[in-house]
Symmetry: C2
Subunit: 450 residues, 2 copies
C-alpha cells in the first residue's frame, strides 16, 4: 500500500489504528481454520460509522480493495484478502446501548459479539434469538452480513429476522441510517434485507438495532438415541413447526463417540444417531415432550433434563461434537441444506464419497434438523484430497435437491458454486445491484461472485 | 397509445387481452375508493411470466409507462395510472399449485386472491398467515409488492414473511425465478425481499411460493370494553409477544356504535373502546386469556367466544367497523404506525385535528395494536378539507414518533411524504436501485418516488 494512502487513513482513524506490521497482517490474512490464506496491505480500525465511510472513500479513490473483518469466524474464507487489500476491522465498534425492555430491542455496534448481546439481553430478562458455537468471537455485523443461523433458528429464525434497523456505510462513502421506532413500516425498499446476507459486498454494516425476545419461563431438554436416521428425521419433522420448539439438533453417533473418548463427555447413548430436542414456553412442557416421543422408535432411554444443570450437561453433548472435530487438525467443513426427506440418503452417500476420495478421513455430521441444515465435517482430509472431494460433494448436494450453503454463506470458498444455487438471471440481477452500489468492485472483491 | 404498439402487444397476449375500450379504461383508471383518478392507454392481460416480460420489453422500447394492477384494493392510489399508461393486469395469473403438506408451502400465481390461498390452505388442513378485509379482491402479487399486513400480522408477520420464493419479470424483460426447495439458503442477495414492498417499481411479481402454517387446534376469542385507551394499550402490550397471540384488534367505540345502528351488529359493550383478543395454540387457552385480563380495568364483562359460531359473531364486530365507514361515502384513510405509548395521545390529537379541519367529519379508528398500527378513517371529509387535513395529519404522525405508512405502502398518495420516513441517503440508495433496474423509470412511475 502506498505511504500516502496510509497517511490519509491515519488522519481519519488515528495513528494507532492503521497497522502495517507484517506479523499482524500475516495473522489477519489467514482464516481461523488455517486452511485459507491471502495477503493484506494494512489493517485499519475505524471508531465510528463516519470513519468507516471516510476509509471507504479513500480506498475507493486510491483504487485499493477493502476486505471487511469482524470476528473472522467465517467457515467459507469470507474474510481472507486476495488483493493486498486494506483490512477494515469493526473491532472498535463495540458500543452496546440500553436495552429497551418495553419495545424489546437494543442498539449495538457491528463489532459486538453474539455472546455480549446474549448477556445484555439476559441482564434485562430477555433473550437474543441467535446462538452459535462461535458466539464469543462472531460479531453481529458479520452475522448480519452472512445472515447467520445456528442453534435457535428453528424457533427465532436466522440473524436477519433479529434485525430491526441498520447503519450502513456504502461504497460511495455515504452512510445510510435505516431505523424505525415502530414495528410496522411500509415505506419503500427494505434496504436492511438487501444488506443482510450480502456478505459485505454492498456496504459495511456499522451498527444494528436488534430484536430481543421474552425469555420463556419453562424449558425441557432431551437427548434421544435412534438406530435409524429416518426415524430421527420423522421426529424432527413432527416437532419443527410446533410453537414450543427451541432446538432440534442432530448429533452424529461417530462424533458423540469421539467426544466421549477424547473429551470425556458423558454421552447418554452411544452407537446411534442422537437428537437433542429442547422445548420452551409459557407452560410446563414435559408432557408435550413425552407426547412427541411416544411413538418414536428410540434406541435406549432418552436423557431428559428439566433443570438447568441437567440441560447444560445435555447441551455439552452437542457442543462437544463441534469441539471434537477440531482435535484432528482443521476439519474440512460443508454446510448443506437439504429437504428433510433427503437427509438419510445424503448421510449415507456423503460417507461413501468421503471414503472414495479420502480413505483415511473421518466424516462426522451435526446440524440443525429444523432447517434441514447439516454440517458435514471431514476430519483428517488433506489439501489434495480436498480439491477433488469439494467439487464432488457440491454435485452430491445438488443431486439430493440441496443447497450449497445453508447458513455459512458463499464467501470465497464457494463462489465458484454460486451458479448451483442461483440461476443466470438471478446472478445477473445480483450483479446489477453490486454494480450500482460499487461500480469499481473494490469492496469485499473476493467473496460471493466468481 | 400508438396502434403499432397495440398490435405488438396483441401479438404477445392475444387479441382478447389487449383492451382499449374507453369505458373499461375509465373504470380501471380510478381507485376503488373513488377518490383518485388517472388515465390509461390500454389494459393488457398477460397469461404467463414470459408474456409479462415480453409486454414490459415492448413498452420500455416504445417509451410507454406501465402501471401494474392486481386486485386494485390499494388505499394509497397505488394502481392509478398518471401517464396514459399501459395497465398490466395480473388477473390471468391465477393458477394454484398443489399444497405441499410436508413442507407446508404452495406455489401460486400473482393474481390469486388472499381468500383463494386461505381456502387452498384450509382444504389441506393448514393456514395462510395473512388475512385482511379485502381478502376476496386483494391478490397475493399486490400483497407481496406492498408487504401487506392485516389481522394476523401480530402472530405470523406481514406478507413478506410468508414468501418463500418469487418469479419476477424485470424491467429489462428478463425473468428471475428465485425459489428454493430448502428452508435454509444463504447464497447471495435476498432478492425476494427487495421486491417485497417495492410497490412494483423494480419488477412485476408473477408467481410466489407461499409458506403455510399449521392450523392451531385450540382458539379462544374475546371482545373487551375499556373506558380508558391507556388501559387497553396496556393489555395489548402484555399480550402482543406471547406465543399464543392470534389477533389483537382495536375497535373504536364510535365505529362500534355506528355498526350497531346502521348494520344491526350486536356490540357487547357500547360507549367504550373495544379490544378483540384472539389466542390460538396447541392447548386450551381460556385460562391463559382469563389470566391476561385478570388485572385489566375493563368496562363491562368481556364477551368470550369458545366455539366458532360465537367467535364469528365477535369478529363481526371488528369487520363491521371496516364496513360501516364506507356508508358515508369514500372515507379518507390514514394508515399510521405508532409506538404503543403514543396511541392514546394520538387518538385524542387526531380527533381534535379532524374537528379543526373538517368540523362535520366523523373520525373513527380501528387497527392492529400488536404492531401499533392504527387506521384512522375520516367519514364525510370533502376533497378541499382533505387537502389541508392530509398534510397536517402527516405532521401530527411525525410529532408522535410514528410512521406515515404502516401497512398500506406509499403509493402515489403518500409519495410526497416519503422523506418523513426515510433519510436523504436512504432515499438516494433506493433511487440507486431503481435506476439500476429501470433506468428510464417507465415501470409504476407514479408510486413511491416524488
Amino acid at each position: 500500500m502506498s505511504s500516502s494512502l496510509a497517511e490519509r487513513l491515519r488522519a481519519i482513524v488515528g495513528e494507532a489504528h492503521v497497522v502495517t506490521d507484517a506479523d499482524v497482517l500475516d495473522g489477519r490474512s489467514v482464516d481461523h481454520t488455517g486452511r485459507y490464506r491471502g495477503k493484506a496491505g494494512a489493517l485499519v480500525r475505524p471508531g465510528s460509522a463516519d470513519e468507516v465511510a471516510a476509509v471507504l472513500r479513500e480506498c475507493r479513490e486510491s483504487g485499493v480493495c477493502v476486505t471487511i473483518q469482524g470476528g473472522r469466524t467465517s467457515l467459507v474464507a469470507g474474510t481472507v484478502p486476495e488483493h493486498d487489500d486494506v483490512l477494515l476491522s469493526t473491532e472498535r465498534l463495540t458500543q452496546i446501548g440500553d436495552v429497551d425492555v418495553v419495545e424489546r430491542r437494543v442498539h449495538v455496534g457491528a463489532g459486538v459479539t453474539a455472546a455480549a448481546v446474549q448477556r445484555a439481553a439476559a441482564a434485562a430478562g430477555l433473550l437474543f434469538g441467535v446462538d452459535l458455537a462461535a458466539r464469543d468471537s462472531a460479531t453481529v455485523g458479520g452475522m448480519a452480513s452472512t445472515n447467520a443461523g445456528g442453534l435457535r433458528t428453528v424457533r427465532y429464525g436466522n440473524m436477519g429476522e433479529q434485525v430491526l434497523g441498520l447503519d450502513i456505510a456504502l461504497p460511495d462513502g455515504s452512510v445510510v441510517h435505516r431505523h424505525s421506532q415502530v414495528r410496522a413500516d411500509n415505506t419503500g425498499y427494505d434496504l436492511a434485507s438487501l444488506f443482510i446476507g450480502a456478505e459485505g459486498t454492498l456496504g459495511v454494516i456499522t451498527a444494528l438495532d436488534l430484536r430481543l425476545h421474552p425469555a420463556p419461563p419453562h424449558r425441557v431438554t432431551a437427548v434421544c438415541g435412534f438406530r435409524d436416521l429416518d426415524a430421527l428425521v420423522g421426529v424432527g419433522r413432527g416437532l419443527r413447526d410446533t410453537e414450543s420448539i427451541a432446538a432440534l439438533e442432530l448429533i452424529d453417533g461417530r462424533a458423540a463417540t469421539l467426544a466421549a473418548e477424547h473429551l470425556d463427555v458423558p454421552v447418554p447413548t452411544t452407537g446411534a444417531w442422537l437428537l437433542l430436542i429442547e422445548l420452551a414456553g409459557e407452560t410446563d412442557l414435559t408432557e408435550r415432550l413425552a407426547h412427541a416421543l411416544e411413538d418414536a422408535e428410540l434406541y435406549g432411554e432418552p436423557a431428559v433434563g428439566v433443570d438447568s444443570t441437567a440441560q447444560q450437561r445435555l447441551w455439552q453433548v452437542r457442543e462437544s461434537t463441534a469441539e471434537v472435530v477440531g482435535l484432528f487438525g482443521p476439519p474440512l467443513k460443508f454446510d448443506v441444506s437439504l429437504p428433510l426427506s433427503a437427509i438419510p440418503s445424503f448421510a449415507a452417500d456423503s460417507t461413501a464419497l468421503v471414503a472414495e476420495h479420502a480413505p483415511d478421513a473421518i466424516p462426522v455430521l451435526f446440524g440443525h434438523i429444523g432447517e434441514g441444515n447439516l454440517h458435514l465435517n471431514v476430519l483428517r482430509c488433506g489439501a489434495e484430497q480436498e480439491a477433488h472431494l469439494y467439487a464432488a460433494m457440491m454435485n452430491l448436494i445438488a443431486a439430493h435437491g440441496g443447497n450449497v450453503s445453508s447458513e455459512h454463506g458463499v464467501g470465497s470458498r464457494k463462489r465458484a458454486y454460486l451458479s448451483m444455487a442461483r440461476s443466470e438471471e438471478d446472478i445477473a440481477a445480483m450483479r446489477t445491484i453490486k454494480a450500482a452500489f460499487d461500480p469499481t468492485g473494490y469492496l469485499n472483491p473476493a467473496v460471493l461472485f466468481d
